[in-house]
């Protein structure tokens, strides 16, 4: 390990390792909540095994951001569709007096804030391995496995890895991030021993990386690439049929790979703690956009009635559809993004080479070898009103020049979204909002939302740079 790297890791560890006082406080709080959940369950006559899980249970939490996960393992006799109702009732009682947010995506749980600490009260079924009934049934087994395998030194390494991943923006399994979960970090440290080795392994990532810690596929490792299709495969030690990294978006994986390379090349604290973005002033923003030469289109709309994971799932799905729409119509898409404050403001951002396209385009017909297709092509285009020139033969195929249907990207978006955009692939809840109104802002017109939301201002400032923070003074 280089001296630099060692020094930096030491500094980071000082910040992320909980002090004795903090540890005592959090552990006491956790115990107290466990007891409250158990007692609330008893009050309602719900037979539950209540236990602390997650990073606090495994002692891999970051001092700066503790998060307490209390699980209740419920009998499999409770039907899947009643699970949420039963669990929320118990959880609400247990967290009485605290600020509460109901979370319900694929799985129901209650988020509460107690003494400024985030607490998740989560139900699951009390099942045996392999008999999973809901998404979180594996969690207690993950806790047991990690506790058994992680030495005290390794827990520090997990903290370093988590902090690094947070710093470069790839930590978190929620849909919004699509990054690495805490359990995944623990498995990586178990597999590669420490933080530096994990970075080294990912720095060399080529095509695919497959890790099978418990050797579930002993003697048939060559089946693994066929069983799993993702570029990163970490076989779950408690469930050989599951890839713990299956939800890691390739964008996050590759960002981690690139950051690992850059960090190993030139270690720096800024990977763990990037500087806060200072948003451009409105005047700077307008100047930046106008000298840039490209065109920025913002599709801006209001509140979507959906919990975070559903919202982001629909935003990303809709973004992919918009991207396809723009590309299909030949606009030179430079980049796109999506932003949401998860409250009253959402935006799709599309950066194009140009808002307008020339009125005529070349349309390639079939190669001469395809006689039947040539015949119908000629029948369709030879005397059509939209044909500007041709048909003629070039490089062994028929060609015509035709008028484009859409030459203005903003008009195209407006036309396809004004009814909600379901036919253009906009997801349901978003389409519902668009139907009732949205705005398309072009270039500096964005100032109207830029000044309203400072988080958006930071986001757009970063988007315009495009460069990851850790690349800034390369």
């Amino acid at each position: 390990m280089s001296e630099d790297l060692e020094k930096i890791c030491k500094t980071v560890l000082e910040r992320v390792t909980p002090s004795r006082e903090k540890r005592e406080k959090i552990e006491a709080l956790a115990k107290e909540l466990e007891a409250k959940v158990a007692s609330a369950a008893a009050d309602f006559g719900v037979k539950a095994i209540v236990r602390l899980e997650g990073s606090v249970a495994k002692d891999t939490w970051l001092s700066e951001e503790p998060e307490i996960d209390v699980f209740m393992r419920l009998p499999t006799s409770i039907p899947r569709k009643s699970l949420g109702e039963v669990a929320l009732k118990v959880a609400r009682r247990a967290a009485e007096g605290a600020r509460q947010v109901e979370r319900f995506a694929e799985h129901p749980y209650l988020e509460a804030f107690v003494d400024d600490v985030r607490v998740n009260i989560v139900p699951c079924y009390d099942t045996k391995p392999g008999e999973w009934l809901s998404a979180t049934d594996r969690t207690p087994y993950h806790t047991d496995y990690a506790k058994k395998r992680l030495t005290s030194q390794m827990k520090d390494e997990v903290r370093l890895l988590k902090r690094f991943m947070k710093g470069v923006g790839v930590y978190g399994a929620e849909i919004k991030v699509g990054g690495f979960s805490g359990y995944l970090c623990e498995l990586l440290i178990i597999s590669f021993e420490n933080f530096a080795n994990t970075l080294k392994a990912f720095a060399q990532h080529k095509g695919r990386m497959i890790v099978d810690i418990e050797n579930h596929y002993r003697g048939r490792r060559d089946e693994l690439p066929l069983l799993f299709s993702e570029p990163l495969v970490i076989v779950d030690p408690v469930d050989m049929g599951r890839n713990v990294a299956s939800a890691v978006q390739s964008q996050k994986l590759y960002t981690f790979v690139a950051a690992a390379r850059a960090f190993l090349e030139k270690p720096s604290l800024k990977f763990f703690y990037p500087s806060e973005t200072k948003p451009l002033t409105t005047k700077e923003l307008k100047a930046r956009i106008s000298t840039r030469g490209s065109i920025m289109l913002f599709v801006v709309f209001g509140k979507v009635e959906a919990v975070s994971d559903v919202l982001w799932g629909q935003l990303y799905k809709s973004q992919r559809s918009l991207k396809k729409l723009i590309k299909l119509n030949d606009f030179g898409l430079l980049r796109c993004a999506v932003w949401s404050n998860e409250k009253d403001l959402n935006a799709f951002i599309l950066e194009l080479e140009s808002r307008y396209l020339p009125p005529v385009k070349k349309h390639l017909g079939p190669p001469m070898g395809k006689e039947r297709e040539c015949k119908s092509f000629l029948a369709k285009y030879a005397c059509a009103t939209g044909t500007v020139a041709g048909p003629y033969i070039e490089d062994g195929r028929w060609i015509v020049h035709v008028r484009r249907r859409h030459t203005d990207a903003a008009a195209l978006l407006y036309e396809r979204l004004k009814d909600g955009g379901r036919s253009a692939g906009i997801a349901k809840e978003i389409a519902h909002v668009l139907q009732h109104g949205f705005k398309i802002l072009v270039n500096e017109e964005v100032e109207e939302i830029y000044e309203k939301d400072s988080e958006f201002a930071k986001f757009l400032t970063e988007f315009l740079s495009g460069k990851p923070k850790w690349l800034e003074d390369m």
Copy 2:
């Protein structure tokens, strides 16, 4: 054969078959020239076997356009480099009094006009098959072979095929056309028996067509696709190592295929005798260009000192280079063409979607798997002044947005051609002319040459339509 087709062929044959009077006149003229060449050779003490070759010798000429080829077979003792000099001396004497044009490309010959009939006086070596020393040594053997194989009925079919090919613009082996030679037409009729069958065979052309009339490759036909790479292979009956169709441009082959299909579908006299193009008036031209929406660029220059075949070879080569230049710089090329009156006016014509490009473009870097390439990409772009945004990661590779070097196609052409354009791939003689001056005309500015040359006007009128004549009322 459909009734229509039969009727049309009959009409065409009436026009292309020489009448007895015309035949007598041409044959007498040929005989006379043969005698003159023989006597001139004797005068100069050149030992030559003088004989009529080509379409008149084989009786496959078109009544409308007779062309007399008189060959002198010279002893192999004359060095290759003196062949032209010796032959031209004899030919000039033989054609004394007639208008003469010296032709010298790969092979020297004299073109003369006697009684308005084109006469070619061509030297070759008196060699045995397989011992060829110059490009035309095979010709006497071709004549002998065709005379032996063509029945009187087949000669009519050759005439039909030639006339059809002239009508659809694919007849002629000269570089300007790059089409089918007369000998190739004869071989096609020998192979497919008649005109209609030849069209039927080509209408079904898929990928490749290979014909080996004399069965030179008996028992090893599967070697043929490996020995020859062209999409049309007609093994020369007098030289199994030669593809008679090797100089047929794929553009001409596919045009013939398409015309054959259209004709068989709906036979018409217009395939043989297309209507004369009526050029647009200057006013119409300007209106047409402006409503069209695309951009027409004309690179216009003066006389090139080169014989026809050399001129067209260099024009086409230079055109390919310009095409590459325009495409490499991302301009949306719709179509391009080249025009020359072979005298004082030459033009490259480029039709683009747009004259200007947006100032910024997306530049794709290496995929993340290529660690070293990623490193140099980041070193090059992360802090470069031309980088507008990024580097960032997308779809597993690094991306940057950079400023384009060229955003105006006319300026790009001017800049790359003003020194002659050798570095842009312009052929030597053309570069020599460009160096001394050229014009770039944009859209209706072309009026200045349009009004000067009626052949150019016809050409441009056809180019703007883009459609083959025979497709016009489909």
